[in-house]
């Protein structure tokens, strides 16, 4: 029987997820600045709080208080809606991310039996926000950034989804919780052909979330800031929130699909999940501050001529192993 209490629990879970997303994004921005600083033998933020931990909080307050500037020639409805299209799908993905369990309660909002497909669908529509920002800004840099981003995301989606399908084939289910349970004996990454899938997934996911070495949509040296050149204040902050939420999501997916999700010895499951996810995030940051940006033609050629054929061959090998 559903009662008022269930209703209150639903609201509380929703608030907890939103709170987690905000805090995680602020932590990741601080962490990125620290990682990049130490890679470049600097200190990074040091003034606000212990080693600058409250720097992101100060930045958010600054962005909230900023004047709302609307450039004169923007396509207003599109320009206003774009930040929401960039953030809302990412937030909706959290419905079926398995955080493990705490005191016997499974920390997953709803374990849909089509979970991974649901996540694929939602991540594929967040590109609409980038498009709308690029077009609505009525600015050549924004338009070029939006177009580059679209071409890149559409191309890298193919190898990314194929590598996810490889994991689904080994697990035999689309439910996120059951994919984790299928890795009870051995994490998928320890099988050679899943290790290939993991590499393909991480490379194409880096491209999907527009991070260096695949950050041509917002290449500062060519495009000012790409699709969000004309945004400031809280709308700019929304794009940033979306970007860091996506970073968390792809890392959580990599951890869930290939690294055994919340499973692990000794420590509680939630802790294992967070260790794996933030570990992958740290590796992605390390990559970002180490490698130079690739050229547009190299980028598209790499997706279609290298990654996609390898992903399909890998899928065929996975099918052969399963049928053997």
């Amino acid at each position: 029987m559903v009662s008022i209490l269930t209703f209150i629990i639903m609201i509380a879970v929703g608030a907890a997820v939103l709170g987690f997303i905000a805090v995680s994004a602020m932590f990741l921005i601080w962490w990125e600045r620290k990682v990049s600083a130490h890679i470049q033998t600097r200190y990074g933020p040091m003034r606000v709080g212990w080693h600058g931990v409250l720097q992101s909080v100060a930045d958010v307050i600054k962005l909230l208080l900023k004047e709302n500037i609307v450039p004169e020639d923007v396509d207003k409805p599109i320009w206003w809606l774009a930040p929401f299209f960039a953030v809302v799908p990412s937030v909706m993905v959290f419905v079926c991310i398995p955080f493990g369990n705490l005191f016997g309660i499974d920390l997953i909002a709803r374990d849909l039996n089509i979970g991974i497909l649901y996540i694929m669908a939602l991540t594929s529509i967040s590109v609409l926000g980038i498009f709308m920002a690029g077009w609505g800004s009525n600015n050549k840099y924004s338009l070029l950034g939006g177009m580059r981003s679209a071409a890149q995301i559409v191309s890298y989606e193919v190898p990314m989804i194929i590598s996810m399908v490889t994991a689904v084939m080994f697990a035999g289910t689309l439910s996120m919780q059951k994919i984790v349970e299928a890795q009870r004996g051995m994490w998928f990454i320890f099988q050679p052909n899943m290790a290939v899938a993991f590499l393909i997934f991480v490379i194409s996911a880096t491209a999907e979330i527009n991070r260096t070495p695949f950050d041509i949509p917002e290449a500062e040296s060519e495009l000012v800031a790409g699709f969000h050149t004309e945004y400031s204040g809280m709308k700019f902050a929304m794009f940033f929130l979306g970007e860091y939420t996506n970073l968390f999501i792809v890392s959580a997916l990599a951890a869930t699909l290939f690294l055994g999700g919340w499973q692990g010895p000794f420590l509680p499951p939630v802790l294992w999940f967070l260790i794996k996810t933030y570990g992958i995030i740290t590796v992605l940051m390390w990559v970002r501050w180490t490698f130079p940006r690739v050229r547009v033609d190299q980028l598209m050629g790499f997706a279609w001529k290298v990654l996609t054929p390898i992903a399909f061959a890998n899928l065929a090998v996975a099918g052969w192993i399963l049928l053997k």
Partner: protein, 185 residues
């Protein structure tokens, strides 16, 4: 979604409202929104707005699928139509020079032929919908199909249509490459 609907139903039951009221009400809201956005697609004067309206229409149709307990279909609808097809539309719009200008006409001289074709197609749809019994319980929840059942029927009962569709897609792909190929003089 079903959980939320059930919850609201129970809340309303305490105030003497009919069972199933919320499910029906939200179905009609989503269906009406789909029609409103569809009108936006054909009546908007800015082609980029048309494409965004199309994305929203397809979202609402995915919502209608959810009411029919066809979760797989709903998610695939969003993945293919919103995530891939509308994205390609937007990409094509952005690549076309000056297409957003106010001076460009968004209607053409073939309105009569287009109207006739639209009438024929809608007559066909109405004929099919009226002739089929499933329309009677469109607003009621249907039994849910598992993925295994969908996969099995695609590979056994509906194997031929499935393969024919893949052939058509292959032909379209080859055609696109032939048209888009750089011609060597």
């Amino acid at each position: 979604m079903n959980g939320l609907i059930q919850l609201l139903n129970n809340l309303l039951n305490n105030y003497g409202l009919q069972q199933g009221f919320i499910a029906q009400a939200s179905f009609y809201v989503i269906a009406a929104l789909a029609v409103v956005f569809a009108l936006g697609v054909v009546s908007s004067r800015n082609i980029f707005h048309c494409a965004i309206y199309l994305a929203l229409t397809l979202f609402c149709i995915a919502g209608v699928y959810l009411f029919l307990n066809a979760e797989f279909l709903a998610v695939v609808q969003v993945l293919i139509y919103v995530g891939a097809i509308v994205t390609l539309f937007l990409f094509a719009i952005m690549l076309t020079a000056n297409i957003g200008d106010r001076t460009i006409r968004h209607t053409n001289k073939q309105a009569l032929a287009g109207g006739v074709i639209a009438v024929i197609i809608s007559a066909l749809f109405i004929f099919i919908i009226i002739g089929d019994p499933w329309r009677k319980n469109l607003a009621q929840p249907q039994p849910s199909l598992t993925l295994q059942e969908i996969g099995k029927s695609l590979m056994s009962d509906y194997a031929l249509p499935f393969e024919v569709i893949s052939l058509i897609l292959l032909a379209a792909l080859v055609g696109a490459i032939v048209i888009g190929r750089v011609k060597k003089e």
